[in-house]
Symmetry: C2
Subunit: 146 residues, 2 copies
């Protein structure tokens, strides 16, 4: 809790990360908007295409209250991108799953996300590998949560 007095180098890296963050978010929202989706809707659709899951689990992934998921899924369901299925093992839970159209939309969305190509294309393969290693070490073991 002692006041940090961060060195200039660390400060510069933090600012650079801030730039990456804001650019990443802007591109993500823009890509989502091109498919008439909000950022949250796009994120949910992306998660569900990996694996259908209960509303509760979705809330945990999004780090928000379960009551919010109801609305987001409502809007996606209204557009035919997602459906609610009963869970055969527990009649309380509803499994959110993408429809065929939802899966297709998520795929197109991922392809239109060119954050992967544009900025990273400026780095050589060796540089990308170095960056990967640095980020891995920076994030520690729990980097897989995405």
């Amino acid at each position: 809790m002692a006041s940090p007095r961060i060195d200039p180098l660390t400060l510069e890296v933090v600012e650079l990360i801030g730039t990456v963050v804001s650019r990443y978010y802007a591109e993500y929202d823009q890509a989502a908007a091109q498919h008439s989706l909000t950022g949250a809707q796009a994120r949910v659709l992306g998660l569900l295409t990996l694996e259908p899951m209960p509303m509760r689990q979705l809330a945990q992934k999004l780090k928000c209250e379960p009551s919010n998921v109801t609305g987001i899924i409502d809007r996606l369901e209204l557009r035919g991108l997602v459906e609610r299925r009963p869970d055969p093992h527990d009649r309380r839970v509803k499994l959110a799953a993408p429809t065929e159209e939802g899966t297709a939309t998520a795929l197109r969305l991922r392809e239109s996300l060119d954050f992967a190509r544009e900025p990273l294309a400026r780095l050589s393969a060796d540089d990308r590998a170095t960056l990967r290693d640095l980020l891995h070490r920076m994030l520690g073991e729990d980097a897989a949560e995405a």
Copy 2:
């Protein structure tokens, strides 16, 4: 528009960046909440402590519509963290500026943001320098916009 077919290395780096982004945002919002501020309010307060500026300019920095800034500044002003000053050169513009308490809050907020310390502390100074260079090259010349 040709479908990308991204190589696994690039994909891995993109995922890592996604993890950094979500962690950065989560920490930022949490730090803001500790001071009873929303993320947007904290961002505005941070910008204004660097330099007071017209509402219009603030909207440009936030990449949102000017009408939104009115509300954000309203709420900050209501709490005594920000004030609106007339611009001596143009009676149309209002300069948003932090109050003394606003400046103090912004300072405490910055200190409580330990994203700078915790993850980056795992890297040596050499590694941080390497990371800085890679991010610089990745972001290009326009990395200063933050």
